[in-house]
């Protein structure tokens, strides 16, 4: 009996030790297999085990955010194999980029994350002469406030946050955020279950900036959101579900990203999109090269390829967000150009602002948002 007990104790002690040693080794040798500490952070590698001789590029993009045919074409034209990986939120992506050194050659963060990654010195500069097609960018995107002169990031897609509404049932002024906050559409409003977007909308309605660091302004926005919820105006706080619910006529008004709105409008002709007068958020998803990238030249080739007008057109037609390439806008015709969801006017854009990195104030935003989530409808 005694001996077997000792055996088991030794075994039990040895195994965790071995496990940690092995994971340590695996970690240091191959970043791709490192699991992010968060269970939901998924980086699904679709193609692994590449012969050393072949040129590769490791792309880390949002889910369903590219025309697969464009990737195929890229490999056909350049001979560079694409390892394509997906993420679902900016926050997941940031964790992966920080922990998986060398795993990604191109990442697609949103504007404020570009700012954050830059602040952490995790991005390589992108020389304009290496990516000639970048000169085709729309003028207002050539020097964005989150990254001066696009020195470290190249816009891939952009869009706005606005109001998607059912033209047959909506009450009140669809060109104001009051359509979301007043009792006109009581019980039929979908809000975004996302701190920055929902707080941002409330801040804009009150006439403040979306990136405010003034606790009093944030408190006012919180009170507005709580009052909106307690009055029973909100139907639900959701993210991905809302577009399909709007298509099915489950709600009248929804705060929504322009691309999702366009998707819904394509499926239900009663729906329309507006960017309220008070202003809103405009955002860019950009392409960046992490400092730890292994295939920098291929990454540059990839970025340039994505900016080529015919490829950019393929992508915009596939995912229905807004393209930053002017030539594509020109060729897509009036239907695209006059569509506020896909091609807002310069006036609309000027009313909107980018999110900026508010890292030092995030705790305040999160805590106040938790109070909104905790409020109960009467």
């Amino acid at each position: 009996m005694k001996k077997s007990k000792i055996t088991i104790i030794i075994l039990i002690l040895l195994v965790p030790l071995l496990f940690f040693l092995i994971t340590k080794l695996v970690d240091s040798k191959k970043p791709e297999v490192t699991e992010a500490p968060q269970a939901t952070a998924t980086a699904t590698v679709q193609a692994t085990e590449i012969p050393q001789a072949q040129e590769v590029v490791n792309v880390f993009n949002w889910e369903d955010y590219i025309d697969p045919a464009a990737l195929k074409l890229f490999t056909e034209e350049t001979g560079i194999k694409v390892n394509y990986m997906n993420f679902t939120t900016n926050e997941d992506m940031m964790v992966q980029v920080r922990t998986s050194e060398g795993a990604f050659d191109i990442v697609f963060p949103s504007d404020y994350c570009v700012e954050r990654l830059l602040a952490e010195d995790l991005l390589l500069p992108i020389a304009p002469e290496k990516v000639p097609y970048v000169s085709g960018l729309m003028d207002w995107l050539k020097n964005p406030s989150y990254d001066a002169n696009n020195a470290h990031s190249i816009p891939y897609m952009w869009g706005t946050v606005g109001v998607l509404y059912d033209t047959t049932r909506v009450q009140g002024d669809v060109n104001s955020w009051s359509v979301v906050f007043s009792e006109d559409n009581k019980g039929e409003v979908f809000m975004l279950d996302s701190v920055r977007d929902s707080m941002g909308v409330a801040l804009k309605y009150l006439g403040y900036g979306m990136n405010t660091r003034d606790p009093m302004e944030l408190k006012a926005a919180t009170d507005l959101l709580i009052a909106q919820k307690e009055a029973g105006i909100v139907k639900a706080y959701q993210v991905d579900e809302t577009k399909d619910k709007m298509v099915a006529g489950e709600g009248v008004v929804a705060v929504m990203w322009s691309g999702d709105a366009q998707y819904a409008i394509n499926l239900n002709e009663n729906l329309a999109y507006s960017i309220p007068e008070e202003g809103s958020n405009v955002w860019v998803d950009a392409m960046v090269i992490p400092r730890s990238a292994q295939n920098v030249d291929n990454a540059l080739t990839f970025i340039n390829f994505m900016c080529r007008p015919d490829i950019a057109q393929m992508n915009v037609e596939y995912i229905s967000y807004s393209t930053p390439i002017q030539e594509v806008v020109d060729t897509l015709g009036e239907e695209y150009q006059n569509n506020v969801a896909q091609n807002p006017s310069q006036e609309d854009i000027d009313r909107c602002e980018f999110f900026h990195d508010i890292h030092d104030f995030l705790e305040v935003y999160n805590t106040l948002w938790a109070q909104v989530k905790n409020a109960k409808a009467q």
Partner: protein
């Protein structure tokens, strides 16, 4: 995988060691020995249960820099605490801004979760006991069929089943289109607490029915017959014999429904539209959105202590674990 030779060596070595230890176990005991054969599971348990538990404990009692602190539990009590600390650090005056109040988000959420779990357990018991009684009745021929009907939905993942409820409850869903067709007004079925409770009861009801059914079907029929012979009527037989004997099943059922109910997440988000968070959602949001592992772990730890307490309470009623409870 691109393992170094050292890594491969280590894996091979541990494999060999493992086989050797099992062989050694054989030699020592001249044949099978249970504790040796449980070792793969022991290893599994250590890696994926014990180690994570220690990690939760570690995070709960440390701050971002890994120093010991009880701050995370203070943050549980006052959800505004960290925000207030940071604002003071930035030179703001909380008094002037009127932001001194204690944040009750975490405590409120816990109380709400306990209420919901209690409601869910009571409803499951009220629905489940008669059902179990019926299924266990030998004269009732459809019993096995009903059991199968309980089991079949469980072959599908609970997330999918919960999502399926949406198409029933929506404003233009199946139930409401039926109502409209009958000329009745539409009902607000989704995005409220009732819908969440419905989803919970639907998901957890089998965990109430099966333990009770188990306890009932194991009962000796002769006991009831004896009661009848001694002049007890049907109700008295049930109340004095059948019901007390099924107590272990009830206790087990309550445990198995109450525990997952308290920690429910996802259901409030889907059927409740994110309008009211439960404790599981709160923990998830603290970890993922707020990216605060320390407070998240403290919340998880409190949750576990709470569950342990309720289990030990129930254990007092059913010390033998006769209800087939596996906790």
């Amino acid at each position: 995988m691109n393992l170094s030779p050292f890594g491969i060596g280590l894996i091979v070595f541990s494999g060999v060691l493992f086989v050797f230890l099992i062989a050694y176990g054989f030699k020592v005991h001249h044949g099978m020995h249970r504790s040796i054969f449980s070792s793969p599971y022991t290893v599994w348990m250590i890696l994926f249960t014990v180690v994570p538990l220690f990690l939760i404990g570690y995070y709960a009692f440390t701050d971002v820099n890994g120093k010991f602190t009880l701050e995370n539990f203070a943050n549980f009590w006052d959800s505004n605490r960290e925000m207030k600390r940071q604002l003071i650090g930035m030179g703001f005056s909380l008094e002037e801004m009127g932001m001194t109040a204690r944040g009750s988000v975490n405590v409120d959420t816990l109380v709400y979760s306990l209420k919901m779990a209690f409601g869910c357990t009571v409803i499951c018991l009220l629905l489940g006991y008669p059902a179990a009684l019926l299924i266990a009745d030998r004269k009732f021929k459809l019993g096995p069929t009903i059991i199968i009907l309980f089991i079949i939905p469980m072959w599908m993942n609970f997330l999918l089943r919960t999502i399926a409820w949406m198409s029933l409850l929506e404003d233009n869903g199946l139930i409401n289109s039926l109502m409209t067709r009958l000329g009745l007004p539409k009902l607000k079925l989704m995005y409220n607490t009732r819908a969440v409770l419905l989803g919970m009861v639907y998901n957890y009801l089998p965990f109430m029915v099966f333990p009770i059914y188990n306890a009932l079907s194991k009962q000796d029929v002769r006991l009831s017959e004896a009661a009848q012979d001694l002049g007890a009527n049907n109700f008295l037989t049930f109340w004095r014999v059948v019901f007390p004997l099924s107590m272990p099943g009830i206790v087990s059922g309550i445990t198995m429904v109450f525990m997952p109910s308290v920690t429910t997440f996802f259901i409030p988000r889907v059927l409740g539209g994110g309008n009211t968070e439960m404790f599981g959602d709160l923990i998830e949001r603290t970890f993922l959105t707020a990216d605060n592992w320390n407070v998240g772990s403290a919340l998880s730890l409190l949750m576990m202590v709470l569950i342990l307490m309720s289990i030990s309470l129930l254990r007092k009623v059913d010390p033998e674990g006769e209800g087939g409870s596996f906790v």
